[in-house]
Symmetry: C2
């Protein structure tokens, strides 16, 4: 954004700068920072548990995720080097609700680290990722962990419903009996009313995501489903059937971010967190001007594209928040992959299929197939993008020529959203 | 840290920088940023509800705190200008547990803002403040709100105990019946065993904080207590009596932070957030090497002093986390105001009394008298420092010649801690 005549720049500085990139480049970076960028942020490691019914509790799941993240760092990594950590969770599992972030870092070798929980319902670890990114850009930390965790399957059905329900509006929705399937069913009905779309379009989303997740070793529901089977699933909240709804999963995920000057210490192929954006909206549906657009997504995406210096058409793969199939349809529009009202057609025409359409949507299987452990979902999306951009996914799952990826993590029915853009190139 | 020969600096830049401070100063700031500081952060507004039994619910309490913060901005402030917000809370009050941060900003005119909850037990808003500070330093936001809130008095006694208890270790402490008074009682017993100190020293802390809080209009318990009365309070957890324990309060607090180049747009007397530090420790007491030191406080203080470029002896007033009187004694040592084992004597000799000792400790009355609405406490401490450094407290409460203040916010029994240093001078 700003350019420096580097002719005599170094003679300025006292004491001299001793940086891997050298004085001139560092000055250029600094001047860039006046605009958007200060320090660039590299993802050098990423790992997660299998999502699903996990046999371990909080400590064990977190340890597994962070260990996998550390093992993925090509040139080695020590957990004691972490300076800041941000852990997303709604309720951890309900047993240890306060100070749990510190409990988890303590039990994964990051003793003494500056750590906190970040909570924004199902967008918790998307915001943990944003805050970790800002921590590095702030110059206060060079090595930062962002992660997320949720233990859902220790809970009774009524407690699960409670912990899920408290992320919608309590006063106007939850206490009136509106659960999340109901919320998204209202959205779907309105979408079909406003645009040329039917439930069949949602079935296409479900079939695609099950197909994508089938070979993903960390996915919760690894089974392909036919169009007819998905279309005739039992009704959960009309028009949404079982195959429109993501499962309730346990899981933990973590990514390791470092400042630009350290990236090549850890790996020859970092994934750059090029941009980040976040936004919010009214919590209760009735306060929003439209049921079929998520303004939080729109503003988050706009900021993320701007900070990354890319546009929607540059994205090769996007992990989007398909807690219900209709949410993926809206996301393809709000993120700019499809025009307004054309998300249904986008799904129908297979535009999001791996290596077939214009952009691969939910190569991991998405929340629908990979699973949805609430607070672990956001950084779980980043794990998939990390692997895809480094060409390290299972055979058959690779998105061809994947250069730029995006993650889209939504809290509740759209009250909060965080979007990130990642690239193989800085 | 770095200096620039500004002789021909501006000719470098294309396009030119249009900043209030002008090109040369901005370049100097940028070069400073290579070390610790990127952008300096100014607090230009701060407000809170009265702590205690508040008649309003979450939305009303938050609106009151943010409105008071906005009204304290000398040259006016619009909530719609806020770009990022960080709200600390353990449980909000238990009714709306997910996405509540967005609900609160929505109801206080910050529509669409990038907002999240930050949770670290009773240190929640201390960490919200740190993350807000880093957000500005990251260059991603120029106007940021940090706040905290907790609604405790809507809860039954058993639920209060639950929400308080879940911030200690569930597995080894809470489920074994150890509550927070018990935790700190163990600490006090050990302290008396190791050092030349008795319960009388704690009584001095209680008497001082009640005296300091007596004229604080936002304090929960506004009554002076005599030494004899505080000494003979009924036993809560031996050796801690009622007068050693802070009350359970409702409350909300918020501060408005801006990037350096905007500070004088909002006020002629900003309070600079000069330094920030945070740390963590084992959650369960038995894992810590010492019961009478909080390593999280020590590392947080060390970082805060370093980033601020000051030492303990520079501090004029400190708001420390005296959830129990023994906690203030430990804090005076861990923050460097008293030598190891000398915190008891420090209290006994009145070293923390307003305008009498070496540093005023808890000019507000502290958690003991001002009150402790868990998540609201950290930024509530910052509100007091803001008022003290601007000489805007009630008559009789002013700390003389207050130039540098400190806040110290602890989560649980010391698993997490955030320390901040503030100054009238940048």
């Amino acid at each position: 954004m700003y350019e420096v005549d580097t002719g005599a720049a170094c003679s300025w500085l006292s004491p001299p700068i001793d940086e891997p990139y050298g004085c001139f480049d560092r000055l250029n970076q600094m001047l860039d920072s006046i605009g958007e960028r200060m320090v660039d942020v590299a993802m050098v490691g990423a790992g997660q548990t299998k999502f699903g019914n996990h046999p371990l509790g909080l400590k064990g799941m977190w340890a597994e995720a962070i260990e996998k993240a550390m093992l993925s760092v090509d040139h080695g990594f020590q957990s004691s080097d972490v300076e800041e950590a941000f852990i997303g969770s709604i309720a951890f599992g309900g047993s240890q609700l306060g100070n749990t972030a510190a409990l988890l870092t303590e039990h994964s070798g990051m003793e003494g680290v500056s750590v906190r929980r970040v909570e924004n319902a199902c967008a918790s670890s998307g915001f943990a990722l944003r805050d970790a990114w800002m921590a590095i850009k702030s110059g206060q930390a060079d090595i930062v962990v962002a992660g997320g965790i949720e233990k859902m399957n220790d809970l009774s059905t009524s407690r699960k419903r409670y912990w899920l329900g408290v992320s919608g509006d309590t006063e106007w929705e939850r206490l009136a009996g509106l659960t999340f399937p109901g919320t998204y069913a209202l959205t779907a009905r309105r979408y079909f009313h406003e645009f040329d779309s039917t439930h069949d379009d949602l079935v296409h989303v479900s079939v695609k995501n099950h197909m994508h997740g089938f070979e993903n070793e960390v996915a919760h529901l690894r089974k392909e489903v036919s169009f007819d089977k998905a279309k005739s699933g039992f009704m959960v909240a009309d028009p949404l059937t079982l195959y429109d709804c993501c499962p309730t999963s346990d899981g933990a995920s973590a990514v390791i971010l470092v400042a630009d000057h350290l990236a090549h210490k850890f790996t020859d192929t970092p994934v750059w967190v090029k941009g980040s954006g976040a936004g919010s909206d009214h919590l209760a549906l009735h306060d929003r001007p439209s049921l079929t657009q998520l303004r939080a997504t729109q503003s988050a995406a706009s900021k993320a594209y701007r900070t990354a210096g890319v546009s929607a058409s540059d994205i090769d793969l996007a992990e989007v928040h398909d807690c219900f199939t209709i949410a993926e349809v809206l996301a393809t529009e709000d993120l700019g992959f499809a025009g307004r009202g054309l998300g249904g057609a986008f799904a129908r025409e297979g535009e999001g299929r791996r290596n077939e359409g214009s952009v691969t949507i939910n190569a991991s299987g998405g929340l629908k197939s990979k699973g949805h452990p609430l607070g672990a979902t956001g950084t779980g999306q980043a794990v998939e993008v990390f692997k895809q951009l480094r060409h390290q996914v299972e055979p058959g799952r690779q998105v061809r020529d994947a250069e730029i990826g995006l993650t889209h993590n939504v809290g509740g029915s759209g009250a909060t959203c965080a979007v990130h853009v990642f690239g193989r190139q800085r």
